[in-house]
């Protein structure tokens, strides 16, 4: 038995086909224009507007619920105690701010400590949105050109006992937001090096499609001695060989991970690198604005 009415209601007339055709045309047009860079400033501007608000969505929701609870309390208090209730509400607001201030203080102290240990000037920010679907791994952060962020800048973070390590590179930038290509994305390519004894072995680290995957190091010299447990850091080769390229902003010697295994792929030597930090678990990052103070 078939319900013909439901079939008829869904099948479109000429008007429906026209709407679909127009929308497909618009989607293709937007895509081509953005691919050519015509719409990119518009997209970056929209992202700049929404990224900070999205980043603060969760804290705002919790604040709203607190404020709502506070106002309900006030309603229950007698009119002659209004002044006291207001004071109480203010104090509650301050108490809510304490953990935020403590966290901010902790992050700033962490930033100062990293800047003291390394010749880097950092900009700290929360990750607004992380995209880990369709095989891609990117993140949007709430700082952009207005804060001095440019394409190609290295993005680092710390997680638990890890050293400050590379988690990605700024890929696109708007006035108040930037898109970070995480090192674990399959299209990410970063020149890296390993200090082994008195030799330096260089190569290229790229991400893999697998989730929680290691990094894949290729282009290694065949006679280069690498063993499991060797530390991998950035090589900053773009700065040497292509100073005009965006990735020239990545300084050398940012920790990336440790060598987990070494093998051969055909005639080429390859290594699997366990990153110090899984880029998908971090929520706060620093962008290396410059490495010469």
């Amino acid at each position: 038995m078939r319900d013909r009415s439901s079939v008829r209601s869904r099948s479109g007339g000429r008007g429906n086909s026209l709407v679909v055709a127009v929308l497909i045309f618009l989607a293709v047009l937007f895509f081509l224009l953005d691919y050519q860079g015509v719409l990119t400033p518009v997209r970056n501007m929209i992202t700049s507007y929404i990224a900070p608000s999205l980043g603060g969505t969760q804290s705002m929701v919790s604040r709203l619920s607190d404020a709502f609870a506070g106002s309900m309390d006030v309603q229950r208090i007698a009119t002659d105690r209004d002044a006291l209730a207001k004071e109480n509400s203010d104090l509650k607001g301050q108490i809510i701010r304490i953990p935020q201030l403590e966290l901010e203080n902790l992050r700033l102290r962490e930033q100062l400590r990293i800047e003291k240990e390394h010749p880097w000037r950092l900009i700290g920010t929360d990750i607004s949105i992380q995209t880990v679907s369709e095989g891609r791994r990117t993140a949007i952060i709430g700082v952009g050109t207005n804060q001095g962020v440019n394409v190609g800048m290295a993005v680092i973070s710390r997680y638990q006992s890890s050293p400050p390590a590379l988690i990605g590179v700024v890929d696109q930038v708007g006035p108040n937001s930037a898109n970070v290509l995480l090192v674990s994305d399959f299209s990410s390519l970063v020149s890296v090096q390993i200090y082994h004894g008195d030799t330096v072995i260089r190569g290229v680290a790229s991400g893999l499609l697998e989730r929680d995957a290691m990094l894949h190091m290729t282009e290694i010299e065949r006679d280069g001695q690498i063993v499991t447990g060797d530390s991998v850091v950035t090589a900053g080769l773009t700065r040497l060989f292509g100073p005009s390229l965006p990735n020239a902003a990545i300084p050398a010697d940012i920790p990336v991970g440790i060598v987990k295994s070494v093998g051969l792929e055909g005639r080429n030597k390859v290594a699997e690198i366990q990153p110090y930090i899984d880029p998908e678990v971090v929520r706060y990052v620093w962008i290396i604005q410059s490495d010469a103070k």
Binding site: N16, F30, T47, G135, L209
Partner: protein, 179 residues
């Protein structure tokens, strides 16, 4: 311009803005909240679009797909239109194959999600290959396609029943299920 014409334009604009806002709400939920709750990427918009094709007129679904794609592009940092094209193609594939079958059939959402997922990811592979760079296709299928499809297959039937009931309530229909 007389008042009735102006009012009609205002109504159309309001309808589009309302659709955009609802879709944006869903997309932000998909990108920000669902991964935090379930710890997996759930392509909720693909699910909603392919299920809606089975229930609503295609022009309405196409608008959902278009707006959802644009918002997804903004929050994902991809070129504008990328996700819109993928969602519209998935919608068209489902519509082309399943439009003539009654929406009362419970197997329909499962077939629609598989078909929509195949189209969506098929074109995503093509676009990514052509515009971003080459990758291992087998790995994509194992690591991205199968898990993402499996995750949206689970709620496919409940979402379909929910949306169908909602349509029935709006129209005052009595539900009759056909097996």
């Amino acid at each position: 311009m007389d008042n009735s014409k102006r009012r009609k334009i205002e109504e159309v604009v309001w309808l589009e803005v309302r659709t955009l806002l609802i879709v944006a709400f869903f997309v932000i939920g998909q990108r920000m909240l669902l991964p935090m709750v379930f710890h997996v990427a759930i392509n909720a918009m693909l699910l909603l679009v392919v299920i809606q094709v089975l229930i609503e007129p295609i022009a309405i679904v196409a608008r959902w797909a278009f707006y959802a794609g644009l918002v997804l592009d903004i929050v994902s940092g991809t070129w504008l239109g990328w996700h819109s094209i993928l969602l519209l193609l998935a919608m068209l594939a489902v519509y082309a194959v399943l439009a003539r079958i009654t929406s009362e059939n419970w197997l329909l959402p499962i077939v629609a999600v598989v078909l929509g997922g195949l189209t969506y990811h098929g074109f995503n592979i093509l676009f990514t290959y052509a515009l971003v760079g080459g990758f291992d296709l087998t790995k994509y299928v194992v690591v991205v396609f199968i898990p993402e499809l499996a995750v949206i297959l689970i709620p496919a039937l409940p979402v379909f029943l929910l949306l169908r009931s909602w349509r029935g309530i709006r129209r005052g229909e009595v539900p009759i299920d056909v097996y």
